[in-house]
């Protein structure tokens, strides 16, 4: 049970790359925090600074109010699970799991007991005497988790631990990680670029963009109330529909379209209207005319993709919408659908700064 605190943390690599540009964060004891963001945004760097695998260029990293900027990784009492597992190839599963404990000088009986217990919890008890090369990807993943668990660290760190697994196993392991974390109640930081993973695992998630925390909050809060265009488009699957627009004092104007229900917006700024795919509905008097391109059948619901006729285009790209609807809705290709939307739930952003205006 430990708190983690970051104060104005920055990282500049020796080659000049500014990976992290001032991050402040407080993580409560037992919280499950997820860093999510596109590849290269600095998530791993941030995590590795907490682990002690990268030096901190400036700012402070604290665990339980102790400044650990210059404490070695071993003494920070954190455990990490890597994307490629990083198991010791020549050691058995047991050897892998007990290595850290051995280095701490724990008595053999105690090590054995902890390893057996963790192996049981992860259902790898039958593999304890095998080498990593004799295990499947999912099993290796469990061993990597086991190696972290037996140490009983103050903080668990995960760097995209499920990215090397196939889709089905990924979902399974995701649930298992969540269950383990609940049960052990250890403060955890989890890095992923997969927003579904992020949404489902996190107590709170931090959306990282270009070395900064764009927004932090509970998954549902970020989904319902994104503070920026970036967060709105990163969180939510399928992605939020975006429509370039301007405001004339009464209506939102986008190409030939005139949308009412909006007020109190700047008139001289380029805007973006954001509508989630499930906020669209069939409506004969609605403002949008969707020309159907693709119908994806996902089982319980269908996703209908198509161009919005008459809408302002973003550059030379036609504005496309995704309409989430029920499984019995199967329009012909190239037919058109009349769609309306819930203007209470629509979001408006400043196109240039990304700031949410409404």
């Amino acid at each position: 049970m430990s708190k983690v605190q970051l104060t104005n943390v920055r990282k500049t690599y020796p080659n000049g790359a500014e990976a992290v540009r001032g991050v402040d964060m407080e993580i409560e004891s037992g919280e499950f925090i997820v860093f999510v963001g596109p590849s290269g945004c600095g998530k791993s760097t941030l995590l590795r600074m907490v682990a002690g695998l990268e030096s901190v260029t400036s700012g402070q990293v604290l665990i339980d109010d102790r400044l650990i900027n210059d404490v070695s990784p071993a003494e920070r009492d954190v455990a990490m699970v890597f994307q490629n597992y990083a198991l010791y190839p020549h050691m058995t599963v047991r050897g892998n799991m007990s290595y850290g404990l051995k280095n701490r000088g724990l008595p053999k009986a105690e090590i054995d007991q902890k390893v057996t217990e963790a192996a049981k919890m992860l259902r790898i008890g039958d593999f304890l005497d095998r080498q990593p090369s004799q295990l499947s990807g999912g099993q290796r993943q469990r061993v990597a988790m086991g190696r972290a668990i037996v140490r009983e660290p103050k903080v668990f760190l995960f760097d995209e631990p499920l990215s090397n697994l196939d889709a089905k196993l990924r979902v399974q392991m995701r649930i298992e990680i969540k269950r383990l974390q609940r049960r052990m109640n250890v403060t955890s930081i989890y890095v992923t670029h997969d927003q579904t993973e992020a949404m489902t695992l996190a107590d709170r998630l931090a959306v990282v963009n270009d070395g900064k925390i764009e927004q932090m909050g509970s998954p549902i809060d970020l989904y319902n109330n994104p503070a920026t265009l970036f967060v709105a488009s990163f969180i939510g699957s399928p992605q939020v529909n975006l429509l370039p627009a301007t405001f004339d004092g009464q209506h939102l104007i986008s190409g030939d379209l005139k949308l009412s229900g909006f007020g109190d917006l700047p008139t001289s700024t380029e805007l973006v209207l954001g509508i989630r795919p499930d906020e669209l509905r069939l409506d004969e008097s609605g403002p949008f005319l969707l020309r159907v391109d693709i119908v994806e059948q996902h089982g319980s619901d269908n996703l209908i993709y198509g161009g919005v006729l008459g809408a302002m285009n973003d550059g030379d790209q036609e504005t496309e919408f995704c309409f989430k609807t029920s499984q019995d809705m199967l329009p012909d290709l190239d037919s058109t659908l009349k769609l309306g939307f819930n203007d209470e739930r629509a979001m408006v952003f400043n196109k240039v700064t990304g700031e949410r205006l409404r």
Binding site: A51, A86, Y88, R147
Partner: protein, 262 residues
Amino acid sequence: MVLGIGLVFMLAPLVLVFASSTHTTSTLQLQGLQWLPGDQFVQNYGRIFSFQAGFTDEITPLGMLENSLIIAFSVAFLTTVLSLLTAYAIVFFRLPGKHIIFWFVLVTLLFPLESRFINTFSVASSLGLINTHAGIVLPALAAALGTFFFRQFFMTLPKELIEAASLDGAGPFKFLKDIVLPLSFSRAGAIFVIAFMIGWNQYLWPLMISTDDSLYTLVRGIRFIGQESGPGMAMVVITMLPPFILLLVFQRWFFNSLSAQS
């Protein structure tokens, strides 16, 4: 097919030498080398062990064997250890200028020992290494080759391995001992064998650096007995034997690490 021809070319001299080593000197001199075994095995090989040579001091073939073994084992051991440690430092640590160090090491591969005899000799003599085993061993260390070999292997190890170890409380020394060494075992065996052969087969450099007959190695000693004699042939066979035995002992490791990358 090509392999077959290659094999014949490689094996034929061995058969020829062994068969010839069982004939009398006069047979060899009158009729040339022999393809079929003769009846002089015991006499020829026995002669070697009662033979003495030398101008300034005495040296027996057993003494030469001892010299050869000392030198070859030293070359093999030092080459393996030095190149493993160099590669370890180059790959796993953020040394300033480590790429320069590596290229410098690699460049020395371009210049065979023979091309730097004069300089090496003056360095060796100023260090007082003339007429010593060390003088024969040190310049022959195949450290560049070994460093390159180990470096290539270490680069295939994921960098997360050392990170996982450091989180597990293993510093650089423990990581070397517990993780890198066990993983490098078969490769170290291969380098050991190669360096042993290099040390064993040295000819020119020992000739230059040592004037004492007591430092004669087997390879040099063949000259004393005369190659075209029965005992000379027997000596050639004995000279070839230790590297061959070593290769047999290490062969599984050797071929595993040189072929499959696992």
